[in-house]
Assembly symmetry: C2
Homo-oligomer: 353 residues x 2
């Protein structure tokens, strides 16, 4: 099969890690007889520099015309002084909205060969750690109306409609059926009206999935439970803001944020796949970044956008075998272990596919 | 000196732990020649049961007439089904607002004798763990206008005025001067207008404190840094919502949430002091709760509301000596260690004062 992929390498380490992911994807194409055609377009700081805007219309058009989108990472100190409308992050928020990517899936799991890197004591993860944050991505206070009063007071409208909550809740329950049949919905319903709409709606949707266990947790408690007993979570369903915070917390509890992919999807098969980590400007251009999160993002793309489960399995198995053989980039190497370069790691994974 | 204290024992374990804290306070009075007069009033579930509202006017009046307020904890499953206007939490939010308590101080520190209970690996806390969350408590999306549209969409207005940010920021910088001269201000300025007002205002206030180092961090990153490197924080300055989440995360990273006090203060000396933990309905009435967080809240009251630093030191030293002697309540006892009852622990601390 032939797939058109829009590629946004972005800023910082973005270009290096995406190159390694495409190297692996090409190997999948070779091995399984698919053709992946890349259309490279600009976003974030790179787009600001080239076109004066973090999200050129051309980029949106190319993404919409593609079968799927790969993103490296956006942002860096170079653009931090710009007014908010012109900043790299605006490109990221804009493309999520333009493509209707309302589901953000962020798996956080412990890779057995990297268990040492987990910041938690072993007894805290005796039950394992393999959860999926299912974060709503195109609503909430992120996209509500913003303004300043004349006296300088800043406002953001936090809101969720019933339809927005319904569609993300269905995705979470469906996801739970492919995992361990358990959804934990996180909100702040003891304080926020938006959260009360969220909770009531999730309760209604839950009734359609009697085979899936459901819990409701306040966000402050969820932030604690992630540290004290992360093994209790399977699918964590949250809004955009709480999901931003909790998915980052969950990912660093694994101890290897350089390993974690993400998928943003909508109503169609078109999805956007990117590592959870940022653009790491401090190590950009040095060929020392860890490309694994981006490689695993490509595996998610194969699985969710192209329905190529065996191909996705092959990529994930290749990553595991390389880790089990003891290969490490600097971020996951222990003192004294030799650290591979970004491209060496990409080569090894591609070879293992 | 004579002090009038409004006492709200609240729900669940509230009455038991407050009784032990008052036992210690009486001992302080005896030893240092002060008179503490208690006026017991109702809040939360207890007030709903007795008066049909979580915050009777009488309670507000008694608190306003007092020199300071002690609170146990509010809430429990018994009242969870009530409409939001009538729930125990409404009493808590209402009293914070009615007393103008815009500063919430939540220290999170590791007690050396309890270091084993910390969920993080020892190398993560090599730099220690002793931070103070300084959370704004009477603004933000907590108190913004709330409504539902006709189609059922829920809305909450997130907002901060410049004056609100200024007054909490000054408190944080002043607090930092009494600690390690470092403030980390947490926001989501890459997305929220409210956060941009927050950050600009903190930047202006920071200029008045050239001796205090200041960092700005996004809330998602802060949630990660608390797990990966909590020793980097001294005073963490945040809004109401982010402070709710991060202070709970910070407290459970110490591994002993039953040990952590909090202070809510405003423009005057009148403050409200309460443990960080909740009402723990599952163990209520069994005399097994840990009263230390409430005892330490009383120490904060002596220090911040009554300006009695030696008395506060005496209470804190008593707690330390009891812990160092190996005494534990069930929540902090290791397997095989004898667990004291709530009142035994109170007796020991009072005796050590
Ligand atoms: C860069 C920022 C706008 C973004 C977000 O908050 O969504 C990032 O933190 C993320 O989680 O992808
Ligand atoms: C009970 C709830 C309303 C409250 C809050 O969110 O402020 C609590 O979580 C706290 O932090 O004191």
């Amino acid at each position: 099969m032939k797939f058109d992929i829009a590629v946004m390498k972005g800023d910082g380490i973005g270009p290096e890690i995406v190159d390694e992911a495409l190297k692996c994807l090409d190997k999948v194409g070779e091995k399984f007889g698919h053709e992946f055609v890349y259309d490279e377009v600009l976003i974030g700081g790179a787009a600001i520099d080239a076109a004066g805007t973090p999200l050129p219309q051309e980029t949106i058009d190319a993404c919409l015309a593609s079968d799927s989108v790969i993103l490296g990472a956006v942002g860096g100190p170079k653009w931090d002084g710009l007014p908010s409308e012109k900043r790299p992050e605006k490109g990221l928020l804009g493309i999520r909205k333009a493509l209707g990517l309302f589901v953000n899936l962020r798996p956080a799991k412990l890779y057995a060969p990297l268990a040492d890197a987990c910041p938690l004591k072993p007894e805290r993860i005796a039950d394992g750690l393999d959860l999926m944050v299912c974060r709503e991505l195109t609503g909430d206070v992120y996209f509500g109306a913003k303004h300043r009063d004349e006296d300088g007071t800043g406002h953001d409208d936090m809101n969720y409609s019933i339809a927005e909550v319904e569609r993300i809740a269905h995705r979470a329950f469906q996801m739970a059926r492919q995992r361990r049949n358990h959804v934990t919905s996180v909100d702040k319903a003891n304080v926020l009206e938006t959260s009360r709409v969220w909770r009531e709606t999730v309760e209604r949707v839950a009734a359609d999935y009697p085979d899936v266990a459901v819990d409701y947790m306040y966000v402050d408690n969820a932030a604690m439970q992630l540290v004290t007993n992360p093994g209790q979570f399977d699918v964590m369903l949250t809004g955009n803001l709480f999901g931003d915070i909790l998915s980052d917390e969950a990912s660093c509890i694994t101890g290897s944020i350089g390993m974690l992919p993400s998928a943003s999807i909508g109503e169609t098969n078109l999805g956007m796949y990117e590592p959870i980590h940022g653009s790491a400007p401090d190590i950009a251009g040095k060929n020392i970044a860890n490309p694994i999160a981006t490689v695993l993002s490509v595996a998610m793309m194969l699985r969710y956008s192209f329905d190529l489960a065996s191909e996705a399995d092959a990529v994930e198995a290749a990553v595991n075998s390389v880790l089990e053989a003891g290969h490490r980039t600097g971020d996951i190497a222990k003192t004294g272990e030799r650290a591979l370069s970004c491209s060496e790691m990409g080569d090894l994974i591609a070879a293992a596919i």
